[in-house]
Each structure stands twice: as C-alpha cells, then as structure tokens.
C-alpha cells in the first residue's frame, strides 16, 4: 500500500530522499498542469514547477502538518504563480511561441488519429485555453483547481484562503463566464461537429445571472 503524502513528507524531513522523489513523481504533473493553465505558458510553468519543489526541499522542515501536504503544495504553487504574474505582468493568453507547443499538443492529443480529428482537437484545445485565460483571474483559479485538479471545495478554500461559499460562487460564475467566451469561438468553427452539444447557455437562465 502506498504511503500518504504526509508520511512521505515526514520521512523526507528525517532525510529520506526517496520519499521526496515519490512525492515529486506523484505531484509534478499536477502542479505543472495547474501552473500551465494558470499562466498559459509552458516554459514558465516548467520553471515554476521546479521552483515549487525546490522550495519544498529547502523548507521541508517548516511544514508542520497544520494542513494537508497537498494543500500546502498547491498554496506554494499558487503564491509562486501570483509572484510570477506580478513580476512580469505576464498576461499572454496562449503561448506566443506556440510553434513548438502546437506540435507537442498534437502529439499529446491523438497520435493515431486522422489529420482531421487531430486538427479539430488542437483547435479546440487552443480555444478552450484562450477562453480560460480570458476569464477573470479570481474565477480562473478555482475553476482550474476544481475542474482539472479535482480538488474539493475545502481544499480550494484552504489554498486560496477564501471561504467555501466564495469558492462555490466563484466556480459557478467563472464557468458561466467561460461559457459565454467559448460560445462565439465554437460557433465560428466551420463544421458544427466540433461544437459539443448544448454548449450554449440557455438565454433565460443566463439572463438571470449577474456575473
């Protein structure tokens, strides 16, 4: 049976480096995903992912089990992302140098799919990421943490240091905003096949929502 994060962290605090390697392997992709979607840039996401784990190594003794290790880790990532954004005032929606990324995305997406499917998938990814980066930052983070990282509302609340009620409303409002942004993007696609069913908000409901 695999050890819990907290157990591994305790072992690492006593000098067991293998415990850290296990933690790193367990979370590196999750943190990278979070940062990539938060910043919209692969290189920066990679750098900050490393920074987060370097911080874990350097300050491992400061972790006192007051919160779960997962929350602690995401909070570091969240803070680093904020610092990064403040430092560089980086607001690019999708990677500007997406040349390399586009190829990589396609490789990830569907290596054996037909060119048409692959192209559709790539377009969709670009659009979703673009729309996500256009969502207000205070909504974006809870959405990413909930939808992609599948964290509980409590965990999101602890990471972002906001009440659970606020998490709930931000996720909802953010998703409504995201839908609004995606609607025109998806309707512009030539083939309606690409548009997922019932993506548009029903007007009666959306009118009632004040975002």
């Amino acid at each position: 049976m695999s050890k819990s994060d907290e157990e591994l962290m305790q072992q690492f605090q006593t000098g067991n480096e293998t415990a850290f390697v296990t933690i790193y392997e367990r979370y590196k992709l999750a943190i990278y995903r979070f940062l990539y979607r938060r910043l919209g840039n692969q290189a920066r996401a990679e750098d900050i992912t490393q920074e987060v784990f370097v911080a874990i190594i350097e300050h491992c003794r400061e972790w006192r089990q007051e919160s779960s290790f997962k929350t602690y880790l995401y909070r570091i990532a969240h803070n680093r992302a904020i610092s990064e954004i403040r430092r560089s005032e980086y607001k690019v929606m999708v990677d500007a140098d997406n040349e390399a990324n586009a190829e990589r995305v396609s490789k990830v997406a569907a290596p054996n799919s037909s060119p048409a499917t692959s192209l559709e998938q790539q377009e969709l990814q670009i659009k979703v990421q673009r729309a996500l980066m256009m969502v207000e930052i205070e909504y974006r983070e809870p959405i990413i943490l909930r939808e992609y990282e599948e964290l509980s509302y409590e965990e999101i609340s602890a990471i972002l240091e906001i009440p659970i009620g606020t998490v709930k409303s931000r996720i909802f409002r953010g998703k409504v905003e995201l839908k609004k942004l995606l609607e025109p993007m998806l309707s512009n696609t030539p083939e309606q096949v690409r548009k997922p069913p019932n993506v548009g908000l029903s007007s009666g409901v959306s009118d009632n929502i004040r975002t």
Binding site: E17, Y24, E46, Q125, N208
Partner: protein, 481 residues
C-alpha cells in the same frame, strides 16, 4: 423555490459539495425547473469539454536531479566567500539605505554649493595638480627604480599591449623583445623636466612596442637572430639606441599592422616560437606571412583536424608530399608555415578538401528530409484548412496548427518524403501561391535530439520513430488574407 436562490448552488450540486438538506432542495427544484435543468446540462458539457483538452508535455527534471541541483546550490552558497561578502554588503546597504543615501545627498549638496560659490576653479586646479603630481611621482619612481637597477623599464610596458586574449600571446612575445628598447629613450630624456618625463613615460607603451617590433623588422635580413631578450636584454637594447625619432611614426603604423596580423596566430604558435628561441625576426616573418594569408588562415584553422579525412577521400595525387610535410610542420609550429613558401602556397588546396568532404557528408544528411515553406493568399481560411486536412489525409501525413498571438498563422503538414511532390502539387492548388521555398535539412541533427528527449520524458523507447524522422518531410503553409 426561486431560480435566483438556487442557481449558484448548481455547480456545487454537480460537484457533490452540497449538504444533504440543500442537495435535496436543489434536486426537487430541478425536477420542476427546465431552465435550471438546462443549466446543469450546460455545466456538465463544459466540464467534459475542458477535461478533454490536453496540455503540452512538460520537460521536467527527475526528483534525483532536482535534489542534486538544490544540494549543489546550497553548497555553493556556503562555500563561496565572495558571494557571502556580496550578500552581506547588499544586506548592509539595504539595512542602512536611508542613512547612506542621506550622507551621499549631503555630500553632493556640499560639492554643488562650493561650485556655485566660486570655489570651483580653485578646487579643480588643486585636484588636477594633485592628480598629476601623484601620477608623475609614481611613474618617476618606477623609472628611477628601473634605471638604478640598470634594467630597462619593462614593468609598465609589460602591461601595455592590452593582451586581452591568450591567443594574442604573440603580441606579448613581440613586447618581450621590445622591453629593453625602452631604456635608451628614457636615458635620453633623463635630463628633461618632470612633466615632460611623465609625458614620455605615458607614451612609453606604444613607443616601446613600436621600437620592439621595428627593431625586429630592421634586424630581419641579418641572420643569425639575436638571443631571447630575457637572456640578454642589453644586446637588443643596444641595437635600438640608434633609432631615429622621425622613423617612429611610420614604424608605429607598421607595428600596429603587425600586431593586427599577429592576432591570427594562436597561443600554441606563440609558445612554439618562444620554445624555438626565435627572435623578433621570426615573429616578423610569421606575421608577414600571416598578413598575406590572413583570410586563408582564418578559414583553414577550424578544419585543420580534417586533412587526413580529406586525403583519404581525395586519394593520392601529385603535390601531396608537400602537403604532408606542411601538415607535420603546421602541427609542430605555425612559425614554419611562414618560412616555407611552397607550404603557404599549398594552403588553399588544403582548405578546399575538407570543405568538400563536409559538403559531401552534409549532402548525405540532407537527403533525409525536406522542408517547404509556401505562402498562400486566401480569402477563406476555413476552406483552405479543410482542403489541407484532406490533402494530408490523402498523403498519409499529419497536420499541425501553428499559433502566434492566438491566431492560426500557418499549418504544418508532415508527409512521407516520397509523397512530398504530390502533396506540394495539391497544396499549390489550394490558393494563390505568393512565395515558395524548399530547403533540405538534416532531421537527424535537428529533431532527433528533441524527440529523444520527448521519449525520455514519456519513458518510452523510440520504436519506429527513426523511420518517421528520416523519411518524413514537412510543408509549412503560411496564410495571407
């Protein structure tokens, strides 16, 4: 229940984050309200849409690598006293920033006030006098020291030639020969005033070098070469006493040219020269030859490791013996290069052969892949995209979007090289071709590394990849509306 009261809980309902009582309330409402049911469906669709999107594969280090990196960083921090000093200085400055700034401001204000109140002139004069006198005294002191020791003034001159690079050690060599030459000039000016002396000394750098090099030049035709200056400085210095001041300008120019030429020589060459106890004569000859063949040498130098291959490829031919001898000479000392006229004549041939070999090798690589860039003018990007997708599908290729600033700027089609021509024919029909450029490239060099890295990340063996890399070509279609 009113929709406004329940709508914000719909996402939480989907996420199973509601308390039981609230959950049952929402459930009851959803059974009766169509709008809210629609909303729930919309949210579900959005979630699935978001989750279907992948992100680029990261290039992250392993856990062990990261640990090692941190360990090395912390070790550096602990062991580097210079960094510690800098850090402490930095800390000190920031801790007492306010007081330091206040002091600096006050000092500036005082200086400004003095300047305004007319003390400026006196102050400047005083300052310059001090500067001058201190500079003169230092130079004078060094001169006196040297003269009393009956050793030529080499200390300042030794630092003169601004030998920035080790490769320029030939300049140092020339200077060594010139060192003793400074003495007669100083002797001549011994009776002059301090100021004049200082002026002379300040010019000593260039004149000393000039003297050295020119002395070498003058001595050039007269074998045997004098011994190294370190062994017998007087001998060389005596030879330079007769140097006329009128010559110095011409000589200066010549010397500058020589120095420029000498930069071509490597450190090894300079070393060899000194090992063979060559005098400035040899240096001069080398420099001359180099100046003649400067451009040639620059091209030949990087390829000097290739002649063997070149020879193998080109086979034996007349004149090879000369080349061979020359090769051996070159490896030993480049000073011999200049001494031997036939060898220097053979240089261009030597340069050509490795180049040919390199071209041949490159050509072999180039056969592996082609990259075509086509600029197409189009009114409807969507139509073109659909057509290109069909073309890629028909030619058994892959298609990739390239995005810059959130706009699709081009489409990359990767097809087997055998299908490249057919694909190109089809692509040309898609729109009005503005520009087309095909180039061959080595996939093995450019992309193999990257793909290997990708495989490393995925922990996969590159099965079947080799085939893809060597046999595929790409077409990049750029759009202009």
């Amino acid at each position: 229940m009113n929709c406004d009261l329940i709508i914000e809980d719909l996402q939480a309902f989907l996420d199973n984050e509601l308390q039981l009582t609230r959950r049952s309330e929402v459930q009851t409402h959803l059974q009766t309200c169509k709008d809210c049911s629609q909303m729930i469906n919309d949210l579900k669709d959005l979630s699935s849409l978001m989750k279907s999107c992948d992100i680029p594969i990261p290039n992250l280090p392993t856990g062990q690598e990261l640990l090692a990196k941190v360990a090395s960083q912390s070790a550096k921090k602990q062991t580097n006293p210079f960094t510690n000093f800098l850090l402490s200085t930095y800390e000190f400055f920031f801790r007492y920033k306010a007081s330091i700034l206040a002091t600096a401001t006050a000092a500036t204000l005082i200086v400004v006030a003095f300047n305004i109140s007319g003390v400026k002139e006196g102050r400047i004069t005083l300052y310059s006098e001090q500067e001058k006198s201190s500079a003169t005294s230092v130079q004078e002191k060094s001169l006196n020291q040297d003269m009393t020791k009956n050793v030529p003034v080499t200390a300042p001159a030794a630092e003169v030639p601004i030998v920035e690079n080790k490769e320029n050690s030939i300049a140092t060599k020339a200077l060594t020969t010139s060192e003793p030459l400074a003495k007669p000039q100083i002797n001549a000016s011994a009776g002059e005033t301090e100021g004049a002396l200082a002026g002379k000394v300040s010019n000593l750098d260039s004149s000393a070098i000039v003297g050295g090099v020119l002395g070498a030049k003058d001595n050039q035709p007269s074998p045997p070469p004098p011994p190294p200056p370190s062994d017998n400085p007087k001998a060389v210095s005596n030879s330079k006493v007769e140097m006329k001041p009128s010559e110095s300008k011409e000589q200066d120019d010549l010397a500058k040219n020589n120095f420029a030429d000498k930069k071509v020589l490597t450190e090894q060459e300079a070393k060899n020269i000194s090992n063979e106890s060559n005098t400035s004569e040899v240096v001069e000859v080398t420099a001359k030859e180099d100046s003649k063949d400067k451009s040639r040498d620059l091209t030949v130098q990087p390829n000097q490791s290739r002649p063997e291959i070149a020879k193998e490829k080109s086979g034996a031919r007349p004149g090879n013996s000369i080349q061979k001898t020359e090769k051996a000479d070159t490896s030993k000392s480049s000073s011999n290069l200049g001494m031997s006229a036939p060898a220097s004549m053979a240089q261009p041939r030597r340069a050509e052969t490795p180049a040919k070999v390199a071209e041949k090798v490159e050509e072999e690589n180039r056969q592996t892949s082609k990259h075509t860039e086509i600029t197409i003018s189009t009114k409807d990007l969507q139509v073109v995209r659909t057509q290109l997708t069909q073309i890629a599908e028909a030619q058994k290729g892959n298609i990739t979007l390239k995005v810059t600033d959130n706009k699709i700027t081009s489409i990359l089609i990767q097809v087997p090289t055998s299908n490249l021509e057919n694909t190109l024919v089809a692509v040309r029909k898609v729109g009005k071709v503005i520009k087309e450029n095909t180039r061959q490239r080595s996939v093995l060099v450019d992309e193999l590394k990257e793909r290997k890295d990708m495989d490393k990340i995925k922990s996969k063996k590159p099965e079947g990849r080799k085939q893809l890399e060597t046999n595929f070509s790409t077409i990049n279609i750029v759009f202009i509306e």
